[in-house]
């Protein structure tokens, strides 16, 4: 199915957010996630099923003012 990760459309076979994170190489990375604008905590990623056209945000610590 087609989803959007960090603003970029892409195809995925991942069924859950956890699977997607692992597929993209973020499995053990210090990242936070949101799906369609809603925060999804680390323990909830496995239960968060993905649907076509979902918009996923994967963010990490960065410099800020």
């Amino acid at each position: 199915m087609q989803i959007v990760v960090n603003g970029t459309p892409q195809a995925t076979d991942a069924q859950t957010l956890l699977e997607l994170c692992e597929t993209l190489g973020f499995g053990k990375a210090r990242v936070a996630t949101a799906v369609n604008g809603d925060f999804v905590a680390v323990p909830a990623r496995a239960a968060r099923k993905l649907c076509a056209d979902d918009k996923i945000e994967i963010v990490a610590p960065r410099q800020g003012g």
Partner: protein, 271 residues
């Protein structure tokens, strides 16, 4: 009340945490991570602001910055920079709480790109939601007193009014409003956030009785950021000391500082 300013030891306490430094330093726009580290170290800043952004390198960029933060050993204040709606701000705050393992959040809800001014309506609403969810909120706000009251009612224990628009370096655009705000909220920690361009601006704010200064660009874009960070730390200390010492009132007319009585030749022309 969790947040107080202890004037005896001059410790700044924010949400129960004591600090000896009154400089809150941003971490963006430095020439290199090494220079950022030097700026934090030389200024002895104890609080740094951080952010979160989309990760594109399989977590490596974020991990490197996370390692740098840990090496510095300072308190981290994550922001919601770039958020324009309540939903964006609340979601970003939640992601920041998980990433940085802190309930602190520097709440920014921006109204437009040209001024980066706070959207005060959404700011108050987001603050209320976040406080109810256990966050300790540092709202980036204007110097409007009614907004400040709403933020305090929402549960914010600290206010961060702007000096001038973010990144302008113009200093305190409205010292009168900031002075009024200080007088109106004598027991609330007030930190000038944004617009501070040079150390004298920081001193001016501290002389008004502000509890701290939050800045980033003025240090990061200096020719020598580490030295400028130290200059800001010193200027903040000077302004704080002046405030505690009690600044004289301004007068319209001159008053001789040297005693008039006993002036020699004072009566030569009197005949």
């Amino acid at each position: 009340m969790l947040t107080t300013t202890d004037t005896n030891s001059d410790t700044l306490t924010l949400y129960g945490k004591p600090f000896s430094s009154r400089l809150l330093l941003g971490t963006a726009r430095y020439p290199s991570p090494k220079i950022l580290s030097q700026a934090v170290t030389t200024s002895e800043a104890e609080i740094i602001t951080v952010s979160l952004r989309r990760e594109s390198a399989r977590g490596q960029d974020g991990q490197r910055f996370w390692d740098l933060i840990n090496e510095l050993g300072v308190t981290v204040l994550p922001n919601t920079a770039g958020c324009r709606t309540v939903r964006e701000a609340v979601t970003t705050a939640n992601m920041a709480r998980e990433l940085f393992s802190t309930p602190w959040i520097k709440l920014e809800v921006i109204a437009n790109d040209d001024t980066l001014q706070p959207d005060i309506f959404h700011l108050v609403e987001a603050a209320r939601i976040l406080v109810e969810d256990g966050f300790q909120v540092f709202p980036y706000t204007t110097d409007d007193l009614s907004v400040a009251e709403r933020l305090l009612e929402a549960g914010c224990d600290v206010l961060m009014p702007w000096g001038a628009p973010i990144g302008t370096g113009r200093g305190l655009a409205n010292p009168y409003a900031l002075r009024t705000m200080r007088n109106y909220f004598p027991d609330t920690p007030l930190i000038v956030d944004a617009g501070v361009g040079k150390p004298s601006h920081a001193t001016q704010a501290m002389e008004l009785g502000y509890d701290g200064i939050m800045l980033n660009t003025a240090v990061a874009l200096a020719e020598d950021p580490a030295r400028m960070a130290k200059a800001f730390a010193m200027s903040i200390d000077a302004g704080r000391l002046a405030w505690k010492a009690g600044i004289m009132e301004e007068r319209d007319m001159a008053v001789p500082s040297t005693p008039v009585a006993g002036t020699p030749f004072f009566d030569l022309d009197a005949g």
